[in-house]
Amino acid sequence: QAQSVSGTVYDNSGSPLPGVNVIVKGTSSGTQTDFDGNYTINNVDSGAVLEFSYIGFKTTEATFSGSSVINVTMEEDTQALDEVVVIGYGTQKKSDVTGAVASIDSKAIEKFTFTDASQALQGQLAGVSVQSAGGAPGAGTDIVIRGIGTFSNNGPLFVIDGVITNNMSSVSPQDIANVSVLKDASALAIYGSRAANGVVIVTTKKGTRGKLSIDFNTSYGVASVIRELDWANNRQYADIVNRANDNDGNARFPANDTQFDPNFGSNLYAESVQTAGVHDSNLRLSGGGENTLFSLSLSHYDQEGVIKFSDFERYTVRANAGFTKGRFDLQSTIGLTRTVNNPNPYFNRERNLLPTINLRNSAGQFSASDLEDRGIDAALGAFYGPGTIVNELGLAALEDRTITRNTILGNIAASYEIFNGLTYKLSLGLESYANNNFRFSPAEQVIFDGSNRAFSELSETNENFLSTLVEHTLNYNRTFGKHTVDVLGGFTEQINDVRRLGVNAINFPSNDIRVASAGEVQNTPAFQGTDAIQSYFGRVNYTFDDRYVLTGTLRRDGSSLFKEELRWGTFPSAAVAWNISNEPFLQDFDALTNIKFRVGYGEIGSNNVGRYATDPVLNLFSEYILGDNQTRVQGYSITNSVNPNLTWETTKTTNYGLEFNTLNNRLGITMEYFVKDTEDILVSTPLSFITGTGNPVPANRGSITNSGFEFLANYRDQITDDLSVSATFNFSTVKNEVTSIGDGSPIRSGSFTSNTIFSTRTDVGQPIGSFYGYIVDGIYQSDAEATAANDQPGNPRAGDLRFKDIAGPDGSGPDGIIDENDETYIGNPAPDFEYGLNLSAEYKNWDVSLFFNGVAGNEILNGTKYRGYFDFNGNYFADALNAWTPSNTNTNIPRNTQSDPGFNRRMSTFYLEDGSYFRLRNAQVGYSIPDTILDKIKLAKLRLYVSAINLFTITDYEGYYPEVGRNGRGGRGVFTRGVDEGSYPTPRTLQLGVQVSF
């Protein structure tokens, strides 16, 4: 006989689970658990089976055998959690995915502290190369997915909760639930003309149904530089320069010689570094009822720099909410972010203070000269020697620099299921920021003497940006027997609008008055820009019997960046996947499970063009001086050539993927091989200079091939009830080759000094931005040997670098002359391979995780060597004392000279070093207070941990740190990779943290 059954559903930890579907198997009667996990079902027949199902948990059954109370504990289904993959405009069952998609979830991110959320991806995902631009607080990252396929600087596209943008720096790492990186055309084509450099999809944390939780995480860390360079002290410097002056036949400078005074000197670098604090806190309230979900998160991140006078602070508020009622669903995500960045752009800059000068004068103020204190009447340069004599620490301290940005990034998505399987969705996204970039350099002698500036100066720029995104999609998802179809169609429009107003003013009445109106306004640069993109897209995913999956995608984009006739482009892709394990003939094959083979092909684009790049305009500021009173007059001229025929770059990708599980599903393996041919790459070269415009003009004429292999292994094992371990290893290698630069000249770039010495060359048949120069072949031991070498760029003597004679004109062999024919490719800034290894274990209440990553086979140009051995405008390395002399011939440091007739400083292998490294990126040990104690103190969770970032790094690189990013002198472009001009050192950080849940 039928009677009513009730009970409570719990999760593993004993907490009630609300929202669990409870049905009587084989009938249509069922219900959901309420907020407290309770359910009641009426009219249950004896012998009936109750089925409890809930996303993320293994479906559980219970047979009704008369007892009116059935309590159930549901087990989390770890495998099921992994099975949903976030893809463009939706999610997919892992087995249905046909493209190359890599992802990490919050577990890999929330444990650690990152300046920028994108750093969390570093080393975690095969094929995703992430490099910090040095270790400065607030430093950005360069993300390269599957090799560089463009000459422009574009990174991947970011989609944050549905909002399409260019970076993820406004997101607090603590708020991230999942990051999914789309890598091949099959996955990317849905983003069309903006997808060629990959797409990073960020999903932020939502609430959990029924579980009202309050989580508070806080950590405090101390950071310190890992390595310092050995710069000369005052005595060493004087000895080096005296020797150089003697070698050059020049008089010694008084400060180094007759008037050397050991009491005057500085150690600029030791004074510039500090032990710095890093503080990160996050408070999150989340929960949900039957029809609602919410999460409110407050984060504060505060980082001091290990270099003085640099710091960064970020505040974020994130409010995510979901509302479901019947066929209607509403999701909103809103993030408010404020960042305040005070960079120190002066540290380690070329032409620093000579170490024979005190950093501060006798009055304790920053100073760039001791002449007054020493009572010496001489010209600075004549007394100290040539040098810009910048007190960069003083500059950094006295100048006021702040970049403040307030960002709103949010999305509201409403969907309605029109009939079973067919859902219409309207998504409204918005990104808006107000940016204030402020710099005030006061009237201070230390600034006047040392730099280009002669007056107090303020420059301030405000920028307002608004991007709106409207997306309409229609999705039909239905299973008919063995056939499952998932069809998506959509229309979207995004409009970006920016308006900027700046002001430069000089000569302020006081250093304390720092508003533009108080000074003499010099100019007010301003800009207005709008661009828009409209797109139609569609995707069909068809699955037969869970064995065969077919995906076809098409996107059609129209962009305002291009002229009308070149505006619209179509980006197709197709892919198939074969779940071999589901074939009947493999039914009993258990050694390997979930075997899937994928292959896909598609075309995607990259609209790497700035606003109005196709519009010729006049420059309104071709100024000159005229008149008896020497007045500035404003002329107009054409200073820029444009190419009206620009269009997007196209990348054709073929991807093969193989994945399987083994060891009883404990080990999962994914392998990918891809070939990525990018065509119509914008190559910017100046037109012939006879046009009168020297600007590089882009044209779609280059091509690059990237091919590579990626490997991901995931191991997870519950060894005993108390002990679980997991390991993730990823490995990727990319071969990059420029296959055409159109009719352009090889691209020279990568200068590492203000004296412009190019270090990289990009030409057909070579990787992008390969190091190019002479090969050092020892040191000339005699003048005769040096003269005989017939060195054209220089006129070397004994003690100068010997460069290798490898070729004559027309590629013939050594010709007895050292000239530009002997320059060759001498290194590659891109690694042969990159890898990451994540190890973690939990034993009772203890947890340990170790994250290693590394790169191998790349060269770094250690530009600091230029300053340390050659440049005479600043300090030298102490090692310059070890230079060649007639009595010290067993050295690889050329003789000390300031006139450098041998042109030792030219680009050569002298600067190149192996950039390989292997490091313990993160190590963490945590202890969770046992439940028995927690119960008494009324806490759900209390975990304490210590962690270390960059605990050790194994490398032969002699600069500050082998993670150098791209050199700023070249605008951080792809041609300046691996050029280290002394980038901000990456610190080692030790942290203590606590996580509390109520």
Binding site: A251, A454, F455, V633, N755
Partner: protein, 502 residues
């Protein structure tokens, strides 16, 4: 709708909507002068392709920018293409003016004047391009009117002819002077002076003489030597009676300098490349001994050193000269003598000689070459002076008729101004020497040697003159001229050829 995809640049006007009225004509004309203040032109870099290549300057150090100075420039090195680029900027802007301004409905005189300016600026830049690169294209229309793929290098004699034509036109269209608010714009005198120089460089002595005679007769306005030679090199006496053309410079600020942009600095920084050691943060240079010896091989009518040596050089000597009511001595910034500036000088070793011209420390009080900012040189750069006109006249007359009274009178005017005894007869060597004494560091010496065919004899065969850098071993025949920039060879391939020697 598709409308949102049609975005036009709201930040400036298009070239098509320009050239409507007199204001536009003036704005276009001003824009032609801007490249002169480009860092790659006269506010700095040009010195590496002119004076740094001569036999006076012995530049310290090897570097990309100074490489052409010791014949080691390559087709892709900085000095090669930066300076070329700035000069062609001037050409292109002049072409726009010459092409567009005649069609503007405006005051006819001003219109003619502005078109004349266009011809002057174009010829001025072509003169520099031809003498530095020799095998260059002739472009006389706006870039938009060209099929760039069809542009060929022109025979040098055709370029000379184009320069002559432009300067004749400029001379006829330009006014003798501008109103006070426009001082500094090209004048008929500037055009005539450069026209004479153009003839002279080609050995067209009669034509040269004729033009110089007109200038000396006051046809293009009254030019005369300043009483004090030094007045040509200070801010105090800019645009003076001796000056036919000069680059207008002011020390005005902190911003980046040169180029086209709001408030870009309009001062010069080349002083840092000429300044004595210790008064510059740049590599710098010293002066070869022969130049000092040349200055000191004769004395004034009062038995003292040539006053010009103190303006031009800074050396360790306590010689003085009474001149213009002042006692001249070798001094540098902060009024220091050599031994005050370099108290540690080892008197047993050869003592370097440095430059002093253009530093203008006496008037401005600058304590070193960058005082007041990187581009803190507000001193106008005089590029064509009446004394040069006199010397060029003397040379033309001498080549035509020998040591005539007319030739002697011209050169003796220049000498008399600095108390040097009059010549009673001259040789070509006398003219050459006088040009060194009068015009060193005024961007003419290298081109004089070039036109006289003396680069090899004077420089290449005397590697000591470049001993502070890499000597002259890199010289190959043809390297008297700079390599054509690789960019332009590639853009115009295969119609263009690289210069001999590269």
């Amino acid at each position: 709708s598709d409308d949102i995809l049609n975005q036009t640049n709201p930040n400036s006007i298009t070239p098509a909507s320009f050239w409507q009225n007199a204001d536009d004509a003036n704005r276009g004309a001003f824009g032609m002068y801007t490249p002169f203040t480009n860092i790659w032109y006269y506010t700095r870099f040009e010195i590496f392709t002119s004076d740094y290549r001569d036999d006076v300057i012995n530049g310290f150090n090897t570097s990309e920018r100074t490489a052409v100075g010791y014949f080691s420039g390559t087709a892709d090195s900085n000095a090669t293409f930066w300076v070329w680029q700035a000069m062609f900027q001037g050409v292109a802007r002049a072409n726009e003016v010459i092409f567009n301004v005649p069609n503007i409905d405006m005051d006819a005189t001003l219109r003619d004047n502005i078109v004349g300016e266009g011809h002057f600026v174009r010829a001025f830049n072509y003169f520099n391009l031809l003498n530095n690169w020799r095998n260059i294209p002739i472009i006389t229309l706006p870039t938009s009117e060209y099929d760039l793929n069809e542009v060929m290098q022109a025979p040098p004699e055709d370029v000379w002819a184009q320069i002559e034509l432009d300067l004749q036109t400029a001379r006829d269209l330009l006014p003798n002077s501008w109103s006070a608010e426009f001082t500094g714009r090209a004048t008929a005198g500037a055009a005539a002076g450069l026209l004479g120089k153009t003839y002279l460089y080609q050995g067209k002595w009669a034509e040269a003489k004729a033009v110089f005679s007109e200038i000396m007769a006051g046809t293009y306005g009254s030019y005369q030597l300043m009483d004090d030679y030094a007045a040509n090199f200070t801010e105090e006496f800019e645009n003076n009676a001796e000056s036919l053309f000069e680059i207008q410079l002011v020390n005005d600020g902190n911003g980046g300098w040169g180029g086209d942009g709001p408030g870009r600095g309009k001062g010069s920084a080349y002083q840092a490349d000429l300044a004595p050691r210790g008064f510059t943060n740049q590599n710098g240079m010293r002066v070869n001994q022969w130049a000092y010896d040349l200055f000191t091989d004769e004395v004034t009518v009062n038995g003292e050193l040539d006053p010009r040596i103190y303006t031009t050089l800074f050396a360790n000597s306590d010689e003085t000269t009474e001149y213009q009511g002042k006692t001249l001595a070798f001094k540098t910034f902060t009024d220091k003598t050599f031994l005050e500036a370099y108290p540690d000088t080892d008197l047993d070793k050869p003592i370097p000689i440095y430059a002093n011209k253009w530093m203008d420390w006496e008037f401005t009080g600058r304590v070193e070459s960058r005082d007041g900012g990187w581009h803190g040189g507000g001193n106008n750069l005089r590029l064509l002076r009446y004394s040069d006109i006199l010397l060029m006249f003397a040379e033309a007359e001498f080549m035509l008729n020998g040591s005539t009274p007319a030739a002697l009178d011209a050169i003796n005017q220049v000498r008399a101004r600095v108390d040097m005894p009059a010549f009673t007869s001259i040789t070509m060597q006398d003219i050459e020497d006088e040009r060194v004494k009068e015009l060193t560091f005024e961007r003419t010496r290298y081109y004089d040697l070039l036109r006289w065919g003396k680069v090899v004899e004077r420089i290449v065969n005397n590697p000591d003159l470049k001993s502070e850098s890499a000597g002259t071993g890199a010289y190959k025949p043809g390297r008297e001229y700079i390599a054509i920039p690789q960019n332009d060879i590639d853009r115009n391939f295969p119609r263009w050829t690289q210069n001999e020697g590269y």
